[in-house]
């Protein structure tokens, strides 16, 4: 039995719609390997469907016979050959559908104003910050030498914030070297070298960085942890209170993509220091220059990269 041209045309149109609407997204999952389908944009659906309608219209109007065959069921339906009730239903439903569409297109749409997170301000990030280097990531020779002398005399000084804790440990471990609580490989190596009497400057530098990291982690825990979290993943206990969540440092797209100088500038000037292009100012980041010294800020940044297991971007040569 041959299917009438009207029904075959309608079925073709429906099949094309189904392919575009559901077929392509379903296929996209196996192509991209992503766990979610990629939807076809509305504008593209519209183009595909317009093309399909035009093509089918050409086919239908190809000859008078085709046209007659196509129009026949419509005419018979309108005449009431398929019953009067279905005809009435269709004649009422179609105008209602048209009205619904007209309402949908013309009624004002209510959309929440967009709030975008802007990481890189295009201006106002002072060029003087661009090439800044963390002084604690590569301490100068003299500092390393001073550190070795202090370590030899067993009177290494720490920042005030950690002093009480270190003091309690020293009192409980009077027979140990004061740096021994820093239980990391570079420090163990340095202390062994110190005992044997031959200190390699590179080992001493690595040990000094370990000591700075210890201080930086404590400062991070005191000042940054509540929002950015122990994990540095932007999930501290207060993170849910901010609609613009604190940055996740372990994410590949954050602190790894910027130079240290930018990080320092951001920590220093906080949310209120962002340029006007970066509004809406939803950043809760404090202006740390008001309460932390420059040295404290750099130590925190060193520890932050270390905890997040990331390295800063190298500044470009100009």
């Amino acid at each position: 039995m041959r299917i009438n041209r009207f029904w075959s045309t309608a079925a073709t149109l429906l099949a094309i719609y189904a392919i575009v609407k559901w077929g392509i997204p379903a296929a996209s999952r196996s192509i991209t390997g992503l766990p979610f389908p990629l939807p076809v944009p509305g504008a593209l659906v519209f183009i595909y469907m317009t093309l399909a309608v035009v093509a089918l219209a050409i086919l239908v109007t190809f000859s008078d016979r085709y046209m007659d065959e196509f129009v026949q069921p419509v005419r018979r339906f309108l005449r009431g050959d398929y019953g009067r009730h279905p005809r009435s239903v269709v004649l009422v439903l179609v105008p209602l559908l048209a009205g619904w569409q007209a309402w949908d297109i013309t009624a004002p749409e209510v959309a929440v104003p967009a709030a975008l997170r802007i990481q890189h301000p295009s201006s106002n990030f002072p060029k003087s910050f661009e090439t800044l280097k963390n002084p604690h990531a590569s301490p100068p020779e003299a500092d390393v030498q001073a550190f070795v002398e202090q370590a030899k005399a067993n009177n290494v000084g720490f920042i005030a914030q950690v002093e009480a804790d270190v003091k309690r440990w020293r009192e409980a471990n009077p027979d140990k070297h004061a740096l021994e609580f820093i239980a990391t490989a570079p420090m163990k190596k340095f202390l062994a070298a110190l005992k044997s009497g031959s200190v390699d400057p590179r080992a001493a530098k690595a040990a000094l960085i370990e000591k700075t990291l210890f201080e930086g982690r404590a400062l991070y825990a005191m000042n940054c942890r509540a929002c950015h979290g122990d994990s540095t993943a932007g999930d501290g206990p207060m993170a849910d209170g901010f609609k613009l969540r604190p940055i996740d440092f372990t994410d590949n797209g954050t602190i790894e993509t910027i130079v240290e100088g930018y990080t320092f500038w951001r920590v220093t000037n906080g949310g209120p220091g962002l340029p006007t292009e970066a509004t809406p100012w939803d950043s809760a980041m404090p202006e740390w220059k008001l309460t932390l010294t420059e040295e404290e800020r750099w130590k925190i940044i060193l520890a932050e990269y270390d905890l997040a297991q990331k390295t800063p971007r190298i500044p470009e040569k100009h």
Partner: protein, 540 residues
């Protein structure tokens, strides 16, 4: 029917272990070797010591800013266990805490599966072995926690209306409300004097806020908490108070049913009414107004900074007619604080020095966190000028060029029968907000405190007569943020909870042209259809 039940139970049984998989070790526990201990010492130093201290005494550099404070490992007193009250935890209990963390506290999950820089299973076992060296008790076979295990009930019916109703009876009979309050909001005690074994003040848990429930929000977790008790705190074991397993299970389902489900949207749509807008929280109209939950954090942007807020959720509703708008603000606060002593306030300037020892306020030493000192208060904050594009004032009090309008309700004024809302304009946090003139004070406030919850109503005209302050125009998104103070938590001035911007949106009436277009579309298509029908009939 039986088949269906078997399938459902089968699926549940398969899913249950999955849900807990991350908290449970996948492999066998490694043997406690000197190498393992040394590895644990390194992990502990790098990831734990700044809070828990180099000596494991819970007194690391960051400890004094944390509330609750970090665990002191030297006593072997642990809160979350599967062992009887007062006993040591099993290694698996510690593994669970290290892996999943304690929600709502500084202790985060360290599972490498959930955070990228987390600890592997071996590293977690290593650090647990090291943590156990701080307390002698773990070496004593007499205290073997594995002999003290508490197990889950044999029969664990799913939570249902029946179990919840039964649980509610147990809640009343066992007098849980004496501490946790009739609605579970932690408001059962009149005094603010509870402390833990170390003498630090302790707050009675509001069991309706799931993000603060440290031991876990599942029925199994809740069951274990009052079966094992919470060591070191006033929370006892109810194994004797409620001896029947099935009663405790029912109680756990009831407690779980109290957990608040948060709304997700950021736009508050006021309910439109024809008559007057409500002036008090008891009005039945409020039940029809859609709620918007606003989460808050401690104010950390400006000194003095505050990591220890007690108000973390406010539910807002609004009702408007053609002339007025009323807001209902509700939040849980275990104590009604309706007095304010100005002389107890902190000198913010003193605390804000550069390079000061700390930039946060020490919750234990620097602020008086007690009753009868500071008032409870809330402020609604709106931009004075309608925002252009996406530009909005900073959510913390705006700045010099983008001022904000505050509707500041104060509990002490309410208590004294005075006008309880003060309107003020703020231009940044550096200067205090400037109150509006007497004649411009237009917001009316009315509040109530019941069963550990404040309900505050603030009402004003949509547009102020002199066009000062915020104007509510239909069809315009008006940014809205909140500042909240809990007096007995020591909060005043910039020591407060803040929210970032949300919106109030008064729906505008649909323009007449939309009706026109729609009518035309219906008519035209209808006539066309009718015409075609006639034509088809005639062509016969």
């Amino acid at each position: 029917m039986k088949a269906v039940r078997t399938i459902v139970l089968g699926i549940a049984a398969t899913l249950a272990p999955l849900a807990l998989a991350a908290d449970k070790p996948a492999k066998a526990k490694p043997a406690e070797t000197p190498e393992l201990l040394e590895q644990g010492r390194t992990v502990y130093f790098r990831r734990c010591s700044f809070c828990h201290g180099l000596m494991g005494d819970g007194d690391g550099p960051a400890a004094e800013f944390l509330d609750p404070r970090p665990r002191d490992f030297t006593l072997g007193t642990y809160k979350f266990r599967t062992t009887q009250s007062g006993k040591l935890p099993t290694d698996e209990d510690l593994f669970r805490t290290v892996s999943r963390g304690l929600p709502g506290t500084a202790m985060q999950g360290f599972d490498k599966e959930t955070i990228k820089n987390g600890l592997t299973e071996d590293e977690r076992w290593a650090v647990i072995a090291w943590i156990k060296t701080f307390a002698q008790e773990f070496k004593n076979p007499e205290y073997d926690p594995y002999k003290q295990k508490v197990s889950l009930p044999k029969d664990m019916p799913a939570s249902s209306e029946a179990t919840i109703a039964k649980g509610k009876q147990v809640f009343e009979r066992a007098k849980c409300w004496e501490c946790h309050g009739k609605q579970g909001r932690g408001d059962g005690q009149k005094a603010f004097d509870r402390t833990d074994d170390w003498g630090f003040p302790i707050r009675i848990r509001n069991v309706t806020h799931p993000w603060k429930i440290k031991g876990g929000t599942a029925v199994e977790d809740i069951y274990l908490r009052f079966t094992t008790g919470i060591n070191g705190t006033p929370m006892p074991s109810f194994i004797e108070g409620v001896p029947k397993e099935e009663d405790r299970w029912a109680l756990a389902t009831y407690i779980q049913s109290l957990q608040h489900r948060q709304t997700e949207h950021q736009v508050l749509k006021p309910l439109r009414v024809e008559g007057a807008v409500p002036s008090a929280s008891g009005d039945a109209t409020w039940t029809k107004a859609p709620p918007m939950d606003v989460r808050l954090a401690g104010q950390v942007t400006a000194p003095p900074r505050w990591q220890n807020p007690s108000i973390e959720l406010v539910t807002v509703r609004a009702v408007a007619n053609d002339k007025e708008i009323a807001f209902l603000l509700q939040w849980d606060d275990a104590f009604k604080d309706a007095v304010h002593k100005d002389d107890q306030e902190l000198d913010a300037k003193e605390l804000a020095k550069v390079g000061g020892y700390s930039s946060y306020v020490d919750p234990y030493k620097q602020v008086p966190r007690k009753l009868e000192t500071f008032r409870d208060a809330i402020a609604l904050q709106f931009p004075v000028k309608p925002p252009e594009g996406t530009k909005r004032p900073h959510f913390l009090r705006g700045d010099a060029s983008s001022p904000v309008h505050l509707w500041h309700w104060k509990a002490d004024l309410e208590e004294q029968g005075k006008r309880s809302v003060e309107e003020a304009i703020a231009r940044g946090w550096k200067q205090p907000a400037k109150p509006l003139g007497e004649k411009q004070q237009l917001v009316a406030g009315k509040a109530e405190w019941n069963d550990g919850r404040w309900s505050v109503v603030m009402k004003r005209a949509l547009a102020a007569a002199d066009a000062s302050g915020v104007q509510f125009t239909p069809g315009v998104f008006v940014p809205l943020a909140l500042n909240v103070w809990d007096g007995s938590n020591g909060e005043h001035g910039l020591l407060m909870s803040v929210s970032t911007w949300h919106y109030v949106f008064l729906e505008a009436p649909t323009p007449v042209r939309v009706y026109g277009y729609t009518g035309f579309a219906v008519l035209a298509t209808g006539l066309l259809g009718f015409g075609l029908m006639r034509k088809a009939q005639r062509s016969d």
